[in-house]
């Protein structure tokens, strides 16, 4: 042990000696390194701190008062009764003859009437492609690109990443690597698609499938778990006012969580770390 400790003490002395001679740079460097370490630690703990808020938040409640009696016919305030002649017959089955008193309710949050009044006898025109509307959560520094450009953009990014090191073999990449990268990317896309398909249960009974297309972003940890809450980037309907669109967005978000952790090749983490957009379109499932 003493042999092991002795050189260590010596090395400290040497470093100290060096510090005496080159003090400004080494000291500043050490301070900056410490600051960097502390900064990185805080950065890592930030998410944990966010979710350990133990103080119970105030949860709102809507007050809905139900009257003692039902107003079955809104124009007539009377209690329901059934014809006595008809109900005095003994029932052979376990049915009961009663005079019910039914409450009146008023849904405080009456949803907007979503029953559409469509032209009924005219041929339905070919369904238009839904136009995705950016949601408020869209980050201004990440403008959405056209779908056609997505894949090319992805390839550009991957290629430029590989080009960054000074000794990168640019020629090999450009000649042979794009095809391999393309196949690898498609494999990861397929893997994600296959996994999320088991979890995604969109509201397929909605009247207008055009309103149900949503885009999320998804950041994943290296173990395939969800790194941070997925954000709704765009919706073909209006998730804020259309209850079907909101249900579609929530169904996609639930699927993202339910399917985690995702089983993806660990050595390709840089490819699947950020899914953007995670595009959910249920129209095929609804025969559209």
């Amino acid at each position: 042990m003493s042999h092991a400790l002795a050189p260590r003490r010596n090395s400290v002395a040497v470093v100290t000696g060096l510090a005496n001679r080159r003090s400004p740079f080494a000291l500043i460097g050490a301070l900056l390194l410490h600051a960097a370490l502390i900064g990185a630690t805080l950065f890592t703990f930030a998410h944990t701190l966010d979710i350990t808020d133990v103080s119970p938040p105030v949860v709102p409640v809507d007050l809905v008062t139900i009257a003692d009696k039902t107003n079955i016919a809104p124009t007539v305030q009377r209690q329901m009764k059934y014809h006595e002649q008809e109900i005095t017959q003994p029932a052979p089955s376990p049915m009961q003859v009663q005079t019910p008193v039914v409450p009146q309710e008023q849904q405080a949050e009456a949803a907007p009437d979503t029953a559409p009044s469509e032209p009924v006898v005219k041929p339905v025109p070919a369904p238009p492609q839904p136009q995705l509307k950016p949601q408020t959560q869209v980050k201004p520094d990440q403008p959405k690109k056209k779908a056609d450009d997505q894949f090319a953009a992805l390839l550009n990014k991957l290629t430029s990443q590989q080009n960054a090191p000074a000794n990168a073999r640019v020629a090999d990449r450009t000649v042979r690597g794009v095809g391999a990268m393309n196949a690898m990317t498609m494999d990861i896309q397929d893997a994600l698609r296959n996994q999320i398909a088991q979890c995604w249960s969109p509201p397929v009974g909605a009247p207008d499938p055009q309103d149900l297309v949503v885009d999320f972003d998804l950041f994943l940890n290296p173990d395939g778990s969800v790194a941070r809450p997925p954000q709704l980037l765009a919706s073909s309907g209006n998730a804020a006012s259309n209850p079907y669109s909101r249900a579609a967005a929530e169904a996609a978000r639930r699927a993202i969580y339910e399917c985690a952790p995702y089983k993806l090749p660990a050595d390709k983490y840089s490819v699947w770390r950020e899914i953007d957009p995670f595009h959910f379109d249920p129209r095929q499932m609804m025969g559209q």
């Binding site: 400004p24 039902t70 409450p103 309710e105 509201p203 249900a247």
Partner: protein, 432 residues
């Protein structure tokens, strides 16, 4: 100085590496999913003993819809002690619940019952809905249905249908002397009651838009005619005094008119009666049989069935009788069209060979598809949200008819609980 710059660059790289690791954005398009019920946990509501019963009815309602999987309370690991603080979400994720309903029922000093509930998103760890109701204690079942409707609407985006009633024909006795009585019950089969005594045949009951009146065909006095039944007073009334048979009634969406078929000299045509003036307007005058009228929800069109083309098919006309045209061209015969309350579909009965099936089609006749697979399924009626249908199913072998329900996607066929055999269901609007 150069070394300082190098050190700074290294540190800066370290910072950037921590904050924004270099990576690509991957686009993933998902077009196929797996339609399955949403796992939802509904522990018994705290407080008054009625709370446990309310939670039980909510659980049964949502489970019956086919869109939810109400988890077994025995699997719950967390006890809800106070519904006013967020629950321990990780405990609910452990049992794979994706939604959670907490609630309480509290008896008030004035004798009423206060029922609060909250709907939680377990993954998102947030409240999706919170409401409070006051009612008389005997109305706990109705409150449960209202809560079920609120949860259903919040999660699926469409209005619920649990706080509704079904009027139907209850059948009893041997086949050669079957007694048919008008009956009514809650959507979940609770509180069944007879409205007529079975002394005469009754058929095809239909609710008006306020669920207050029922129009139906009665053979009282051996004369088949359309009657109105006032649920509030129990009063029955013949609609008009016609020499021949009237049948197949259906209210207009505003409840002020009633379309029905009037038979005269072997020819059946569709008429509309103004219920305030009792005046009749003839809409069809074809020598063929025109019957089963059904208004579109906006009242501008009427779908009906006619054999004017040689076989029974579905036609649509304007509500004044103009522009009559055929819309069904599929296999077999098609009849009993019923317009969806949300206007996007017509339900109908298809007869192919000796089999009867219920199907749906677009209002222009396109997109027809069969959604039931029984031997004899017929007479569809819409849930008020336009998402489900009930219909009469008769099994081969003649053991009486039953009422079944099915989702418009063809999923979730379920038998509706009725006392004995039953047929001709009519689904009420949401109770007001």
């Amino acid at each position: 100085m150069r070394k300082f710059a190098l050190a700074f660059a290294a540190i800066a790289t370290l910072f950037i590496g921590c904050a924004m690791p270099a990576s690509a954005q991957l686009r993933v398009d998902v077009t196929q999913g797996n339609v399955k019920p949403l796992p939802i946990a509904i522990p018994g509501f705290n407080g008054d003993p009625a709370g446990a019963q309310i939670a039980g009815v909510v659980r049964a309602d949502l489970q019956r819809s086919g869109l939810f999987n109400a988890l077994d309370p025995k699997s719950f690991v967390d006890q809800i002690k106070d519904i006013n603080v967020p629950p321990n979400f990780s405990d609910w994720r452990t049992i794979n619940a994706q939604a959670l309903v907490t609630g309480q029922a509290v008896a008030q000093p004035d004798g009423r019952l206060r029922v609060d509930f909250r709907l939680w998103d377990v993954f998102g760890e947030s409240q999706m809905l919170g409401q409070q109701y006051f009612t008389t204690p005997e109305n706990w079942r109705r409150v449960a249905h209202i809560i079920s409707d609120a949860i259903y609407q919040r999660i699926t985006g469409e209005k619920g249908y649990f706080d509704t009633r079904i009027v139907f024909i209850s059948e009893s006795g041997p086949a050669i002397n079957r007694k048919k009585r008008l009956a009514i019950m809650d959507e979940d089969g609770a509180n069944p009651q007879f409205l007529t005594n079975g002394g005469y045949l009754v058929l095809t009951p239909r609710f008006n838009p306020t669920a207050q009146m029922i129009a139906y065909l009665s053979y009282a006095g051996n004369k088949p005619r359309v009657y109105l039944f006032d649920l509030e007073t129990g009063r029955q009334e013949v609609l008009g005094n016609f020499p021949n048979m009237t049948f197949s009634p259906r209210f207009s969406p505003d409840g002020n008119k009633l379309a029905m078929t009037l038979e005269s000299g072997g020819n059946s045509d569709i008429y509309v009666m103004d219920l305030r003036s009792r005046s009749m307007s003839r809409l069809t005058s074809d020598p063929a049989i025109d019957t089963s009228p059904s208004f579109s929800p906006d009242g501008t069109h009427i779908a009906f069935e006619s054999d004017r083309g040689g076989s029974q098919q579905i036609y649509v006309m304007n509500s004044d009788g103009s522009n009559q045209h055929r819309i069904s061209f599929g296999d077999g015969r098609n009849g009993t069209p019923v317009w969806s309350p949300r206007g996007d579909l017509l339900a109908f009965t298809n007869q192919s060979g000796s089999n009867f099936h219920v199907g749906v089609m677009n209002p222009d006749g396109s997109g027809a598809r069969i959604i039931t697979d029984g031997w004899e399924d017929e007479g569809p009626t819409w849930a008020p949200n336009g998402r489900l249908l009930m219909f009469t199913r008769t099994e081969r072998g003649g053991r009486g008819s039953q009422i079944w329900s099915v989702d418009i996607t063809g999923r979730n066929e379920q038998r509706v609980t009725t006392p004995g055999s039953a047929s001709d269901p009519a689904w009420s609007p949401l109770i007001q």
